[in-house]
Amino acid sequence: MRALLFVIILVFGGSVTAAAATDLPIGFLALEDDPRYDADMAYARIQLRPTGDAAEGAAMALADMKIVTDAVGLTPQLSIVRAPDSDGLAAAAQEMVAAGTNFIVADLPAAELAALSESLTGQPVTLMNATAQDNALRGMCAENMLHVAASDRMLADALTQYLRLRNWTRILMLTGKDERDPIFAAAFRESAERLRLTIVAEREFDLSTNPELRDQNNIQLLTAGTSEYDVVFIADAVGEFGRYVEYQTSLPRPVIGNAGLTPLEWHWSLERYGAPQVNSRFESASDGGRRMGWQDWSAWTATRAVITAYAKSGSTEYADVLAYLTSDRLRLDGSKGQTQSFRPWDHQMRQPILLTTDNAIIGVAPFEGFLHETNTLDTLGSDEREFVCD
């Protein structure tokens, strides 16, 4: 089945320099009606999740890099395709590959991305995972995926480093029933173990008001009857429950995880490292002047990584560009103060993680004092020695 609802081709051609311009097709694949961007989850227009289009981040990367691509004689063309299901995504990707596309930025949930990666095995194309944080995708060890989105484990490690720093060592864990919730909770549990934090209790919450489930849906009951804890961790991808937990806990304790202090790849309130300029360029370019979310940043970074590898490798051969992209020569700036590159063992991009509230950055992990023998960014996520393919 080939049901591609719409196809947009953005061409940033412009002035052609002395060098003969070479077309550089870059794909962007997303799911129609991706539930992760569903605005209708909560009533009363409470925004629980980003509703914008991460493709705007990819388009900004082309605009940002235009002066470079002009100079080296490349004409990037971003082809944005949305498909309703895995079959449609596979067909769209095949079409892109047939047209000479070697890199596709994927704004897809984990299941669809895993299926797409398998369907493209052996073909000359790399999927740049922009928005799927699931550890299991890294564990697949697929040759054709590079992960720009931080892994769940990196996000969890950013939180546990901060807990260690503050000496908040006793944690009450609350986990929801969305399929992402136990996955993020498991990553947090592993991370807490590594830093020898104590999980005093793990409880599942329920979104209903069913009196029979009072111990799961009443926040005061849910956070009482345990031994003393310093923080409440919540895994709640939907966010509808999490937004009520702060200020209702049985003990007066801070909330971290998907509510309260939240680890993210990007947040509009970052003030350093050139981040304000990135944010204001995005606000000028995006539909409705919305703020740059982590998904937009991730699509921007993935696309810039690809274009940078073409420009700096000095080659348009897929093998050369891929070799540059995955080498330590990449040194990609993400406006977070440290250079980013891909880890050879799990194809995960190294990056700092921001600990955010609604309107502030409380800290940037890795925190001072968390050391590593080669690169402190590798204190976030599965390190080479502990990583195994599934």
Binding site: D64, M65, I67, V68, A71, V72, G274, Q277, S280, R281, T308, A311, K312, R331, L332, D333, Q338, T339, N375, T376, L377
Partner: protein, 326 residues
């Protein structure tokens, strides 16, 4: 300020300047721009804070005019270059620029200002007297460092996002060449014999040396003070001795400056300074260097003979640039 008023102020100022031609030269005073406390801190030659000059929002790069009667400071959040009278130490004028001016340079006769506008990615050319924009030259995103050849014929400007140096022909105000360098290129220094410029690439921890004859990269230098990792080394500000023999490079998060023999490229010394060493200035007889430390809100005075830090002085929030009037 209205244009008329501004002209009046400028005229009065010109008279004052004529009347007191030598007043502000060689005072030994030290000027530090504080990005987040919106002020220029003035220190006496004995390193005592004697004044805080309130400026427009987010003052960053600073330059004296040639006779050092005026101090110009780019104020990024108010889109102006403030003009400070060195005799009174007050802001006497504000020249409007494009959005978010960061670093600037004068033409040799000081009639033109070349300023990088970080927000709209242009190198703007302004007439100093009238404030009129003569040209807006598109650059890569987030332009920063600007330097002109002594004859004013060529300007170089960095783009932090494009990892490029743009070479600008100032007679036509067009980019004639783009030079691809390391990640997040920041600032320049030029050898006095005009043989080469050095560019700091903050995030790839490198200094690129560009041959001014060919405008090609001729050397890439890396630095590593003892006890630090390569990724801690984030070079930004630089200074060069008058004879061109030594270059001082601030190494950012590695909390050191490197003192480098320019010709042999050998590192002579690493000097420990404050947190995130950001910019560095030499006094005229090159006996001391002063380093602004962005994350410890202080400046460090380095004795150039012993290559040792001798004093650290708290100045205010996020010091950006240091100038010495001696």
């Amino acid at each position: 300020m209205t244009r008329l008023l501004k002209l009046a102020v400028t005229s009065v100022l010109a008279l004052v300047v004529l009347a007191l031609p030598a007043f502000a030269q060689g005072t030994g005073m030290i000027f530090v721009s504080n990005e987040k406390s919106h002020e220029i801190v003035v220190l006496s030659p004995e390193h005592e804070i004697i004044k805080r000059i309130e400026t427009s929002q987010r003052p960053r790069d600073m330059h004296f005019n040639a006779d050092r009667t005026l101090l110009f400071v780019a104020c990024g959040d108010d889109d102006v270059i403030d003009v400070i009278d060195m005799a009174t130490l007050e802001v006497v004028d504000s020249i409007p620029t494009g959005p978010s001016p960061e670093v600037f340079a004068f033409s040799p006769d000081e009639s033109l200002i070349y300023v990088s506008n970080e927000e709209n990615s242009t190198l703007e050319v302004l007439e100093r007297e009238t404030g009129i924009t003569v040209a807006d030259i598109p650059t890569g995103a987030e332009p920063e460092g600007v330097i002109l050849t002594p004859d004013g014929s060529v300007a170089y400007v960095t783009s932090e996002v494009a990892d490029m140096i743009h070479v600008v022909d100032t007679s036509a105000n067009v980019v004639t060449k783009n030079i691809l360098v390391g990640t997040r290129p920041r600032r320049f220094i030029m050898a006095p014999d005009e043989s080469e410029i050095w560019v700091s690439a903050e995030l790839s921890s490198e200094i690129y040396v560009i041959d001014m004859e060919t405008n090609e990269v001729s050397d890439v230098l890396e630095f590593l003070p003892p006890g630090f990792r390569p990724e801690d080394v984030t070079p930004v500000g630089m200074a060069i001795t008058a004879d061109g023999s030594k270059v001082l490079i601030s190494l950012g998060r590695a909390n050191h400056i490197a003192v480098v023999d320019r010709v042999s490229r050998e590192t002579l010394s690493y000097v420990l300074v404050g947190s995130r060493a950001w910019s560095v200035a030499l006094n005229r007889d090159e006996t001391i260097a002063i380093v602004a430390n962005g994350l410890s809100d202080d400046i460090t005075v380095v004795d150039m003979e012993s290559m040792r830090p001798v004093e650290s002085i708290p100045v205010g929030r996020v010091p950006h640039t240091v100038l010495i009037d001696d």
